[in-house]
Amino acid sequence: MKRNTALRTRLSVLAATGMSAALVLTACGGDGGNGGDAGSDGEDLNITFLPKNLGNPYFDTSNAGGAEAIEEFGGSYSEVGPQEATPDGQVQYINTAAQQGEDALVISANDPSAICDALNEARDVGVAVVTFDSDTSPDCRDLFINQASAEGIASAQVELVAEQIGGEGQIAILSAAANATNQNHWIELMEAELEANYPDIELVDVVYGDDDDQRSFDQTAALLQTHSDLDAIVSPTTVGIAAAARYISDSNYAGEVAVTGLGTPNQMREYIEDGTVEAFALWNPEDLGYLAAWAAHALATGEIEGNEGDTFEAGRLGEYTVGEGGEVLLGDPFVFTAENIDDFDF
């Protein structure tokens, strides 16, 4: 079994809300046997959610989605987790879940390898293991529910900005650090997308705020000063988008220069309310938890084994197919606007 952790990247987005958010895209592997014992009845499935830590608004949101799904297919939902987001804190809960004979464990891993042994012991006694938000190595879980693909993230942002400036004008990108793998990959994809489909949008500058509030703020000021005809700033990092919005919200540029990108509702609420920002993207953690619970259901009932090409039903989200490396992609990023931002608290 070849394990190829192709892209382990830190998403500044989530550093903000407390998850280290390793987007582990695995290219290959993942046929590590299936822990879900077939034959369980959907009516009495016991599914445990194990977030990185308790009291984290992001996981409160995702686990609420999980509880909703479990209620729909009629199982029992429980949530356990450590106070601090540490791998050793998660191990005891994994062991407990195995001893109690839970049908499935849905976990956001604090470490890709440190909890592997515990997870595999649980799988040996028939617990289906689904990771979401942050993956482990593919050989210690059955499925990984991936929140977003790089292509999806890039095209969502291009669409948002194109919509907000009417398909033509000058835009600039305010990124994280100049060597941030994720952001650079997205920026490349965004550039390609702009070139291919939006000939009237000119990307005039890419600047780096280092995911530091003050530096991002000052870089925004410099951008606006340097490019007097700028129509929009796109920031594919939560720190950057909040800083850009803060600067623009009480400057003369308010209402003239659009701000969009990737943000969290709590950070952006103020600027959505005062009209500085029309819409921004991220995934919907509630849907992520919802899908993870349905995936756990499909494994535990034996509907699927977690192999590439398996398909399963996920309630209101429709049908999903297991991709390469036992990965299930949630879908396109979710767009937050004034209409829906109050439904979220993370």
Binding site: A221, T226, S228, A242
Partner: protein, 356 residues
């Protein structure tokens, strides 16, 4: 011919005499001389040159409401911190913990608004200053009583304070929507086009300048920094003065933390990381001798303005990120080299004047 030489000789003799005994010059002469020869004037000229270049590249740098506001607003917080650092450095000490202090009070500001809804802004500002002063007192006490070099003590507290805010805040952050709008508005509020934060910085500067230049305790700061042993032998309250310097430096960092929260609207545990070095850099560029005893808070403030204005100018001229930092480094080294050169020349001249 001979008269000419004679005259020349007299003139040079009198100017040399004046160097050794400045009191022989008239007040006006001294004032003009001080202004022309001062380090502060040189920096103001550099700042004006930078602004002129930036404005010629981009009119709106100076001649737009936004440009004008940013010009004044951007350096404000660093001015407050640089003044604090200058006071500490003048006593031949250094405070590396001010960036961490800023982080603590900035985060505290947000927490106060969240945990005590409706708390008056004035109370938050006062608490911020007091907490900063308290953290400064810890530094001061360790340095003054523990007789540990300030560099070591404050390097330690820099990590301890940062660790405290990391533990306290974790990955949590204060968002703009957590703080009342009227507080955030203070961050950009303008009185007759002058931003409020700039006014705060100027008031701090004026008060500190008056204290250091015109009061007994202020002058003693210089004496202690010039020669700590002599100051002690002379009977100056060195322990008390050094602690005072750290308390004032800490209080100003605390104030800067509150200003930071109002200005940036977002506070994470990484706030103010590296600001201690910027504040010290500003002071050094502004002519504060790193070994204490000379320089003015005016210089430190101008140094802060220069640093921040250059930072804003370089992207306009089109200089990439890396070089922006390199320029700051070059400025600091240039300032210190100039400092050494000037003080060596000054002492040589004084020697010559005395030998006559």
């Amino acid at each position: 011919m001979s008269t000419n030489t004679q005259e020349h000789g007299t003139q040079s003799a009198s100017s040399v005499a004046a160097l050794a005994r400045p009191s022989q010059m008239s007040t006006a002469q001294r004032l003009i001389r001080n202004v022309l020869a001062s380090r502060e004037t040189a920096i103001v000229l550099v700042i004006l040159a930078v602004i002129a270049v930036a404005t010629s590249m981009n009119q709106s740098f100076l001649f737009s409401g936004q440009g004008w506001r940013d010009l004044l607003l951007t350096p404000s917080i660093l001015i407050v911190m640089a003044v604090g650092s200058a006071i500490v450095i003048i006593t031949r000490n250094v405070d590396l913990s001010v960036g961490s202090t800023l982080a603590i009070t900035a985060y505290l500001t947000g927490r106060l608004f969240i945990d005590i809804p409706g708390i008056p802004v004035v109370a938050v500002v006062l608490i911020g200053i007091l907490v900063g002063a308290g953290l400064g007192l810890i530094n001061g006490a360790l340095v003054a009583f523990g007789k540990v070099p300030a560099l070591v003590v404050t390097l330690g507290t820099m990590y301890i304070y940062r660790g405290a805010v990391l533990t306290w805040a974790g990955s949590d952050r204060i968002n703009a929507s957590d703080m009342p709008r009227e507080f955030l508005r203070l961050g950009t509020y303008q009185v007759a086009t002058i931003p409020l934060l700039t006014i705060v910085a100027v008031v701090v500067l004026l008060a500190a300048a008056y204290w250091l230049a015109s009061t007994r305790s202020g002058r003693e700061m210089y004496a202690i920094g010039s020669n700590p042993e002599a100051a002690t032998l002379y009977g100056l309250p060195t322990t008390k003065r050094v602690i005072t310097a750290f308390v004032v430096g800490g209080a100003l960092a605390g104030l800067a933390g509150v200003m930071y929260a109002a200005r940036y609207g977002t506070v994470s545990s990484g706030a103010g990381m590296g600001w201690e070095l910027q504040a010290i850099g500003a002071a050094v560029i502004g002519g504060i001798a790193i070994f204490g005893g000379s320089g003015t808070v005016w210089g430190a403030a101008f140094g802060a303005i220069l640093l921040m204005t250059i930072n804003r100018t370089l992207p306009i001229i089109g200089i990439p990120d890396f070089w922006q930092r390199a320029v700051v480094g070059a400025l600091i080294i240039g300032a210190i080299v100039l400092d050494r050169y000037l003080s060596a020349r000054q002492s040589r001249k004084l020697q010559e004047a005395r030998q006559r």
